[in-house]
């Protein structure tokens, strides 16, 4: 059963990739603009699996590691090869904690519940705001017509049988350092240099760059790198204002970009951006990446108790989306996104304010809420810094 599922999934993964490649330069929307239960697929649905996505970590790294695991889990379900690099946890333990995919019956159940609720609302006709009757119903989370992606159940971990047919490679920095104490890397942080060598070796050995014409079954390599730029990688950009070598991270990203462009692979990197003092580095990183998504969680911040955000666990900032093979990028209408971690699912939805029903909310706090709501409306790459432009 597991093997068959794996085989079918692999088939689906391979055909979906080929279809998009034949279409040439079709672009699809990016991680931040769809429910994240699907985001692992989106990097591949662009027709060019040569993207890299930088995920800015939230403060305690909790939610970003969740998305990281989603990306890898999607790779397992689709039958792609995996490459996991980390300096913090051993990749084996990361891979043991991947969420289990939801089987089709359970997925339909979830879908049915949602539609049942919707149809009930629909039957009540509006009495007071009747002018709004004819407006289309607002979708809280953007849905697509194509079924592309899987849902995952966070309360269970993936069973080992699903994992069996997958070929995966790992890079755990302390292990590498002990195996090969000295490696010649020029003008770059040695840990990054080793990681690059390792990725390049895997890509050329396994034939992801098309160097092996014998291999007919093309597959995709999903690369996941955790907490790049943190102190564990030997880089001090996170702990000092004037780091020793500010170019290491950007050089690494540039060489990685070259590797990805010439091979069938996609990469997700999480970076603790909140720790990097020198903001110039994050700007350069943003310019060098295809997709940049920032997660801001409410844990421990004042927003946790803010009634504005009572339904959500954090915000999603999409800072950049890929614009490959086309003059325009496929930007969706939704700019204010927030995420929420339910018992089983992690969803990204459009942020909407709860109805203002109470009389006891004082004026000052209302203005604060309004101010913070305005700050939220940041377009991708176009922050509404001109708050004054919007005030009447």
């Amino acid at each position: 059963m597991a093997a068959a599922a794996g085989g079918a999934a692999r088939g689906r993964g391979a055909t979906s990739f080929q279809r998009k490649a034949a279409a040439g330069s079709r672009l699809a929307t990016v991680a931040g603009t769809r429910p994240s239960v699907r985001h692992g697929q989106l990097l591949l649905s662009s027709g060019l699996p040569s993207l890299d996505c930088v995920l800015e970590e939230d403060k305690y790294g909790f939610y970003s590691s969740l998305l990281f695991k989603y990306f890898l889990a999607e790779g397992v379900v689709c039958g792609h090869d995996l490459f996991v690099a980390s300096a913090k946890e051993h990749p084996d333990s990361i891979l043991k904690e991947l969420p289990a995919p939801l089987l089709d019956e359970q997925r339909n159940e979830l879908g049915e519940e949602a539609t049942a609720v919707k149809s009930e609302d629909f039957q009540d006709s509006m009495k007071i705001a009747w002018r709004y009757q004819n407006l289309p119903k607002m979708e809280a989370s953007p849905t697509t017509s194509t079924k592309f992606g899987h849902y995952y159940d966070l309360s269970k971990t993936m069973s080992p049988e699903l994992f069996q047919p997958i070929k995966w490679h790992s890079f755990y920095l302390p292990e590498e350092l002990s195996l090969q104490p000295t490696v010649k890397t020029r003008s770059m942080n040695s840990a990054y240099g080793r990681l690059l060598l390792s990725i390049q070796r895997i890509i050329s050995q396994e034939g992801f760059d098309g160097s092996d014409p014998q291999k007919k079954q093309k597959n995709i390599l999903r690369i996941g790198i955790q907490s790049l730029g943190s102190l564990l990688w030997g880089d001090d950009i996170c702990c000092s204002d004037t780091p020793e070598d500010i170019h290491s991270l950007t050089k690494f990203l540039y060489v990685l970009r070259g590797l990805l462009r010439k091979s069938l692979s996609a990469c997700v990197i999480t970076i603790p951006a909140h720790l990097i003092e020198n903001k110039a580095i994050m700007e350069r990183v943003t310019n060098l990446s295809d997709t940049v998504v920032g997660l801001e969680s409410f844990i421990g911040s004042e927003r946790e108790t803010n009634p504005l955000y009572k339904d959500y666990h954090g915000l999603v900032h999409v800072r950049r989306i890929p614009q490959l093979n086309s003059l325009i990028c496929d930007v969706s209408d939704m700019k204010d996104l927030a995420f929420r971690l339910k018992r089983k699912l992690f969803t990204i939805e459009r942020l909407h304010l709860p109805p203002d029903l109470s009389d006891t909310v004082s004026r000052t706090s209302k203005q604060e809420l309004a101010g913070s709501a305005k700050l939220l409306s940041s377009g991708c790459g176009a922050m509404a810094i001109g708050k004054k432009h919007l005030d009447f």
């Binding site: 040439g24 330069s25 040569s50 020029r186 003008s187 690059l196 060598l197 390049q200 170019h247 950007t250 050089k251 540039y254 060489v255 970009r257 070259g258 590797l259 462009r261 010439k262 020198n278 903001k279 110039a280 700007e283 350069r284 310019n287 060098l288 614009q323 490959l324 093979n325 086309s326 003059l327 325009i328 990028c329 930007v331 209408d333 700019k335 409306s377 940041s378 377009g379 991708c380 790459g381 176009a382 922050m383 509404a384 810094i385 001109g386 432009h389 919007l390």
Partner: protein, 352 residues
């Protein structure tokens, strides 16, 4: 770089040495061809443009400088049919045409809060159409990306490369060869991007590459050479110092613009409250030395589906030291699949 560096400030003697052409359109006898909208608004148009009718300038047009030329141009473009080779509207705005490309010009493309790479695609296809020899230093994207978009604009980069009109330096591939290819260092010429792995931070190797590619061989019959860089801010991320980048641009300018009578087009990123001081230094310095600045900005009020941003065109007439001020024009634009439409501020099709 052993030889004396020419003084980089724009003093009159240096300007004569560069022999930049005067900007007076009557000098080259083409006054009637493209009416210059930057003239004072009271004057009537000297000659009607090709295609489309001229309506008398209304007070509204005079006030907002929305020439009827722009409106008639839109109808003309749609009537002509077929896909445009490049952004025809941008050519009209810049008073440029592929039949008579200007010489010795340094154009700076600058973007803030948005992506200005559509301008790079425009200039690439423009100069290839004009029959110039183009050296394209593409640092950020792969060859196939540019090729696919250029095909939409009607130009084939592979064909141009085969006939020797285009020299394409794919930064990503070159960097990979440098980083992982041990054996290639000994054979043949050094990599243009060798500053990444060596400790020297000057861009001499890159300059040598540009010079060799653009120096005309005896069998070449192309019009003036053109250097196109996308984008310069990446060089800073890769370890070059701002001074090295400015030196590189200056050397290129001396060789390409003044000696070979060609053009240079460079794209940089900038942000208004950016903390990247090195980048801001490079951008500000280049702004002072450019003949034409195209500054693309996202709208200050946020993202809009119908207006993707605004473009500010600055013609540095003040560099000619005739006492005139720089001419600044601001338009808004919307990017479509194969074309970019420009319109005056507030007159987007969605609003009218």
């Amino acid at each position: 770089m052993g030889e004396d560096k020419p003084c980089s400030r724009m003093n009159p003697t240096h300007r004569e040495a560069l022999e930049l052409p005067s900007r007076n359109p009557t000098a080259d006898g083409n006054a009637g061809h493209n009416p210059d909208w930057t003239r004072s608004r009271g004057e009537a148009n000297p000659a009607p443009p090709a295609g489309g009718a001229i309506r008398p300038r209304s007070a509204h047009a005079r006030r907002y400088n929305t020439s009827p030329l722009l409106r008639s141009l839109k109808t003309a473009c749609s009537l002509r049919g077929g896909s445009p080779a490049m952004f025809a509207e941008l050519n009209e705005l810049l008073n440029a045409s592929p039949q008579r490309p200007e010489t010795g010009k340094f154009t700076l493309l600058r973007d803030t809060r948005t992506d200005g790479s559509f301008l790079v695609h425009h200039f690439l296809s423009f100069y290839l159409r004009a029959g110039c020899k183009v050296c394209f230093v593409a640092l950020l994207q792969s060859f196939s990306h540019y090729n696919i978009i250029a095909q939409k604009l009607g130009v084939s980069l592979t064909a141009a490369e085969e006939r020797g009109q285009l020299v394409f330096l794919e930064g990503l591939k070159s960097c990979l060869d440098l980083w992982f290819g041990e054996q290639e260092e000994q054979s043949g010429k050094p990599s243009p991007l060798q500053f990444i792995s060596k400790s020297t931070s000057d861009l001499k190797a890159l300059f040598d590459f540009v010079q060799v590619s653009l120096t005309p061989a005896s069998s070449d019959s192309w019009k003036g050479p053109v250097l196109l860089v996308d984008d310069l801010s990446v060089l800073l991320s890769l370890g070059a110092t701002p001074v090295a980048v400015l030196d590189f641009i200056h050397y290129c300018r001396v060789v390409v613009c003044s000696q070979l009578k060609g053009n240079i087009v460079v794209l940089v990123h900038s942000n208004e409250d950016s903390e990247d001081e090195e980048n801001e230094l490079v951008v500000n310095s280049l702004c002072h030395h450019s003949d034409l600045i195209l500054w693309v900005e996202g709208l200050a009020t946020g993202f809009c589906k119908d207006v993707h941003g605004q473009i500010k065109i600055t013609r540095r007439v003040s560099l000619e030291l005739t006492g005139e001020q720089d001419v600044v024009q601001i338009y808004q634009y919307k990017i479509q699949d194969k074309n970019v439409t420009f319109f005056a501020r507030g007159l987007s099709a969605a609003v009218l």
